[in-house]
């Protein structure tokens, strides 16, 4: 037997496509809209959510038999808030540059519905190892969408990727700009992120009819 059983592998691969937290569960939309104007920000957010979700899931899973059910949401909130603060402080001390990029998103991690959603739906009922895999899988599914949206928004909105001018220089009129291309400023605004997420949902459902809900 390998490191991961078939069931365990599903925990990681499912959220990437057929049970994606953003496009199928429709969680974590707010942060996906807010921070995807740049690819770099999307990547940093994806990595930090993965750290917080994986560790948080394990902590909640270890505590699942002693948490009083009446205050379980508050307990979950305390765990995620404490984790985020510790991660932020450690980064500030040992990786100051990265922490400056991240600091904007700290609040968004705490309020990220995916984290609370996975604590509530998975970690409270499963063991630590499976919860860890579930955390990694869901954060990866979330990050995947974030990176796709960030890619298109930065490319079409600013003509750059990770800050590199891939389409030429808009002021000097080189590259694509020489033949009359213009950056689409609308891509940088949040509504356009919603539209891009919508397009991803549309593409995904048109390829897999099983995902379409009956109403």
């Amino acid at each position: 037997m390998g490191l991961l059983s078939k069931k365990d592998t599903k925990l990681i691969t499912d959220p990437l496509a057929d049970n994606n937290p953003i496009t199928i569960q429709v969680l974590g939309i707010c942060s996906a809209l807010a921070i995807t104007a740049q690819l770099k920000a999307s990547i940093v957010m994806a990595v930090s959510v993965m750290a917080v979700l994986a560790i948080g899931n394990v902590v909640i899973s270890l505590m699942r038999n002693i948490i009083p059910s009446k205050i379980r949401i508050i307990v979950q909130l305390v765990v995620v808030a404490a984790l985020v603060i510790i991660v932020d402080q450690v980064l500030k001390a040992y990786s100051y540059e990265l922490s400056k990029t991240l600091s904007v998103f700290v609040g968004l991690i705490i309020t990220n519905c995916i984290i609370m959603g996975r604590f509530e739906a998975f970690a409270l009922a499963n063991g630590p190892w499976r919860s860890f895999l579930d955390g990694i899988g869901n954060a990866a599914g979330y990050g995947l969408i974030l990176i796709i949206v960030g890619f298109f928004r930065e490319l079409l909105g600013s003509g750059t990727l990770l800050g590199f001018k891939v389409l030429g220089d808009p002021i000097e009129k080189t590259g694509l700009y020489a033949i009359g291309y213009e950056n689409n400023g609308f891509m940088l605004l949040s509504p356009m992120a919603l539209i891009v997420v919508g397009i991803i949902i549309w593409v995904q459902r048109s390829r897999n009819n099983a995902l379409i809900e009956d109403h």
């Binding site: 305390v78 001018k165 940088l188």
Partner: protein, 250 residues
């Protein structure tokens, strides 16, 4: 059957224990990392000040500072004098860069004469720079800047930063294309009165060739952050006008 964990007494005990443990954990983390964090912030300030007077590792498009290891050495090499202006009197102060503008501004409660206004006088290639830190409000949170001026109050360099502006929009004030627009801009109008620099949506000068119009191009989608930059420059740099008048007269 009601399980053990559903009892009220258990819930209360659990809550108390959790608060104590998490509180202690956070307090421990914060206090043990504090010296390291404030050291980082101090170095960053020195890097920012040096950046504004053109001592940096910039290439064509990115904004990058001198390395953290060199910062302290370069700071003492280039910054020849630190001055604090209070109520019109300028005195030298070695620790001027430790002044917390936010606290200072709050303590003065709108009375500019009570404020401690730091100036960092730097020498580079035989030219004198006056680097001034300013502090204001963006859309979501604080914004601040280090602006270096020559004795005629013409901007020689600027570094903008923010605490929580929107990435891709207001956060772009710390991008080269925005900061570099300020270089060469005059803060005074032709009569020598303080006018500041306005971040303008109707500048009509995208390459920013006209340096005496007291305007730079705004960032699309970042109106309030841009207005914050304008307001910060007008309110804070204005306070230094008497100091520069004095410089010229002597």
């Amino acid at each position: 059957m009601e399980s053990r964990t559903d009892k009220n007494s258990y819930t209360i005990l659990f809550a108390v224990a959790m608060v104590l443990i998490v509180g202690a954990l956070l307090a421990f983390t914060a206090s043990s990392l504090k010296p390291k964090i404030s050291e980082n912030q101090r170095i960053e300030k020195q890097q920012n000040i040096l950046y504004a007077m053109g001592v940096n590792n910039n290439d064509e498009s990115s904004a990058s500072f001198v390395s953290t290891e060199e910062a302290a050495d370069l700071f003492s090499k280039y910054i020849t004098k630190q001055v604090v202006i209070k109520n019109g009197n300028a005195t030298e102060d070695e620790k001027a860069y430790l002044i917390d503008l936010k606290k200072d501004k709050a303590a003065a409660a709108g009375d500019a004469s009570k404020r401690n206004l730091p100036v960092f006088v730097g020498e580079k290639d035989g030219k004198t720079f006056y680097v001034i830190p300013i502090y204001g409000k963006g859309l979501w949170d604080a914004i601040w800047a280090y602006v270096s001026l020559d004795e005629n109050m013409v901007i020689q360099g600027a570094y903008f930063d923010h605490k929580g502006e929107t990435p891709g929009l207001g956060a772009n004030i710390k991008e080269r294309f925005f900061m570099d627009d300020f270089i060469g801009e005059h803060l005074l109008d032709e009569n020598g009165n303080f006018k500041g620099v306005t971040v303008s949506k109707s500048n009509g000068d995208p390459k920013n060739i006209d340096k005496t119009d007291n305007e730079v191009d705004a960032i699309a989608g970042a109106t309030i952050t841009g207005d914050g930059v304008t307001a910060m420059i007008k309110s804070d740099l204005k306070l230094y006008k008497p100091y520069f008048d004095n410089l010229k007269n002597n």
